[in-house]
């Protein structure tokens, strides 16, 4: 394609034109899919801003008339049997603490698996990785009993602690540590620093991007988790948003204005995280695929 223009053959000109029109077709097709993909989310937001009557009007309209905050006002009002504001707070606390716990325990555990020689290392690593392939369903029933024995049923602790045993987190951090250059750690060791100091002061500062990615994925996972909270949190005031949405749906089957407002409340934090930290999330996901 870098031949001087004067000698471009008819064939290559045609090829270039074809390629350009190919690009245009490609962008048009992808753009159309993108519109189809985003419009349900937009319609969710639109409906949350409608009045009760407007939300079920036929034909459905893309512009709320009038724009109303009634639905939000009524689901966020205190003292209802569906305390959405409380669910929001519960979800925040649970997801933040769970993500913190995952990041701390997984990075601590991953470090010796990446950098130390010791008896039982391979055994521990293989067991942890093997559980990635075990369907989580076999853990649900016995974990219910364990959590009940610990007195955690119907309390947020049940959502924060058991799911923090993240085999994915250990695997992910180990892969990252293995890829770090070892020289800095060796130098620090020769200077007499102990392993924990090295980990805290040399390794963790280098691992910030990986830690941020893992924290984000853990936060999203916990925020969106559905099956476990539905069954272990039964009182409205301790539920998280996904479990709460289910309660809200059974209480207001066709109040779509309220349901969409609830769905928007449950989406805002994760959509905001996604918009600002998109790169971390998408790269975290694709990296887990490439290395998995």
């Amino acid at each position: 394609m870098n031949a001087p223009t004067t000698t471009i053959s008819a064939g290559s000109r045609a090829r270039r034109a074809r390629r350009r029109s190919g690009t245009i077709t490609r962008v048009v097709v992808l753009g159309a899919i993108a519109i189809a993909f985003i419009s349900p989310i937009i319609f969710m937001i639109v409906t949350s801003l409608k009045t009760r009557a407007d939300a079920t009007a036929i034909p459905p309209s893309w512009i709320p008339n009038p724009i109303s905050l009634q639905a939000f006002a009524s689901i966020l009002a205190p003292g209802t049997s569906t305390p959405v504001l409380q669910w929001f707070a519960n979800s925040m606390v649970a997801a933040a603490l769970n993500a913190t716990l995952v990041v701390i325990t997984a990075s601590l555990a991953a470090y010796p698996l990446a950098r130390m020689q010791f008896r039982g290392k391979n055994f521990v690593f293989v067991i942890i990785v093997a559980t990635l392939l075990v369907p989580p369903v076999i853990l649900v029933i016995p974990n219910y009993l364990i959590v009940s024995e610990l007195g955690w049923l119907n309390s947020l602790v049940a959502i924060i602690i058991p799911t923090a045993a993240s085999a994915f987190g250990v695997f992910f951090m180990r892969q990252f540590f293995v890829g770090l250059p070892i020289e800095l750690e060796e130098a620090a060791r020769l200077d007499g620093a102990n392993r924990f100091v090295i980990f805290m002061q040399v390794v963790l500062p280098l691992a910030k991007p990986a830690l941020a990615t893992l924290a984000l994925l853990a936060f999203l996972g916990n925020w969106n988790d559905f099956l476990w909270p539905v069954y272990v949190l039964f009182s409205p005031e301790v539920q998280t948003l996904p479990a709460g949405l289910s309660t809200l749906q059974s209480a207001n089957a066709v109040r779509y204005d309220l349901l969409m407002a609830g769905a928007v409340v449950a989406s805002v934090p994760v959509l905001a995280l996604f918009i600002f930290l998109q790169r971390f999330i998408i790269e975290g996901v694709s990296r887990s695929g490439v290395k998995g």
């Binding site: 753009g31 130390m116 369907p135 029933i141 007499g192 449950a266 996604f274």
Partner: protein
């Protein structure tokens, strides 16, 4: 201890290598302080917090589950008599009360998996191929395809139950405008409910698979395509002989996680169809969770979960077998030469 050496330590993480002259004293000091290698306990101290969680909520329940499945374990009753393999035998005895619901739910999971997995393997690949060349706005489009996935199953299910409402839903409204039937009961009749559950799931997770494919496509060396072009391979031959072999490791990974995700489907059915009509879209996970955690027939539910697990492991093993390394090396060589 020589303070000079001690000072040159960490905070900045930029410690220099010791010069040759004081390497000897370094070594001695290291031995004295026991830092030449770590102490025996050190790795285990690092591992301890994680292993405490892992042992309590992964290993213990995996073992406890077997124990539960061997008992007639009703959470609400004080006695949980040992029944041996009775719970498993019941699952395989056509006359028992659990046989119908369990295999009905396995069938539902099977239908959903068979319908959704091929779509979730092919459609995201097509999208990733369209996105593999750079063009303006590509990262933006990639983010849009991925966006539904960050919403979580509860939000997307509640949302789509609204969009699929047979009277006032957007989907039927637009179908009507296109002159198609506009009264399909998407969430209360089959096969429409399957179309709805599968369609929503494809919408929800397409971006996840596409992002992984895209990363895989970018790892295929461009020279392989050039070599294939020189050999006169058209786009289709390039796809078959370069792209597919190059994607093989990713392909087996995506197949396994997609299979497992589809076989674990729960939220969509719980919130969109409530397992209906009747029990037709009640999946195995739904059935296990309900039997164990609503009706507290934990022994039977635990047995169900192990039967399901054996199925899933067998299928995973089959996928590994299908994707095992063998002839693609020959293909690659042909393209290269």
């Amino acid at each position: 201890m020589s303070t000079k050496v001690g000072e040159r330590v960490l905070p900045t993480g930029r410690a220099r290598r010791p010069s040759a002259s004081n390497q000897e004293s370094q070594k001695k000091r290291g031995e004295q302080a026991g830092t030449r290698q770590q102490g025996k306990a050190t790795p285990w101290l690092f591992l301890a917090p994680y292993l405490l969680l892992f042992g309590s909520f992964v290993i213990l329940p995996a073992v406890l589950g077997v124990w539960i499945s061997l008992h007639s374990w009703d959470y609400t009753l004080p006695n949980k008599p040992f029944v041996g393999l009775d719970n498993y035998v019941s699952l395989f005895s056509p006359g028992s009360t659990v046989f119908g619901p369990f295999w009905g739910s396995m069938r539902a999971t099977g239908i959903f998996t068979v319908l959704s997995v091929p779509l979730l393997l092919i459609v995201p690949l097509a999208v990733a191929l369209l996105m593999s060349k750079k063009f303006p706005g590509r990262d933006f489009l990639r983010a849009i395809y991925f966006a539904p996935y960050v919403l979580g199953v509860a939000v997307i299910s509640v949302l789509w139950r609204y969009l699929l409402d047979n009277n006032i839903g957007l989907v039927n409204h637009y179908l009507g405008l296109l002159g198609l039937p506009d009264d399909t009961a998407w969430t209360t009749t089959t096969p429409a409910a399957w179309v709805a559950l599968v369609g929503v799931t494809v919408w929800w997770t397409l971006g996840f698979n596409a992002v992984i494919y895209l990363a895989g496509l970018q790892d295929i060396p461009i020279e392989l395509y050039e070599a294939a072009r020189v050999d006169g391979a058209g786009p289709w031959m390039q796809f078959l002989n370069v792209t597919i072999p190059g994607l093989k490791p990713i392909l087996s990974f995506i197949t396994i996680i997609t299979l497992l995700a589809s076989a674990n489907m729960f939220g969509q059915s719980y919130l969109m169809t409530q397992g209906g009509p009747g029990r037709e879209t009640r999946t195995a996970i739904y059935q296990i969770a309900d039997a164990g955690l609503r009706n507290f027939q934990m022994g039977s539910a635990a047995a169900m979960s192990y039967v399901l697990t054996v199925f899933l492991m067998a299928i995973s093993a089959l996928v590994f077998y299908v994707f095992r390394e063998k002839q693609p090396k020959k293909l690659k060589k042909e393209v290269r030469s």
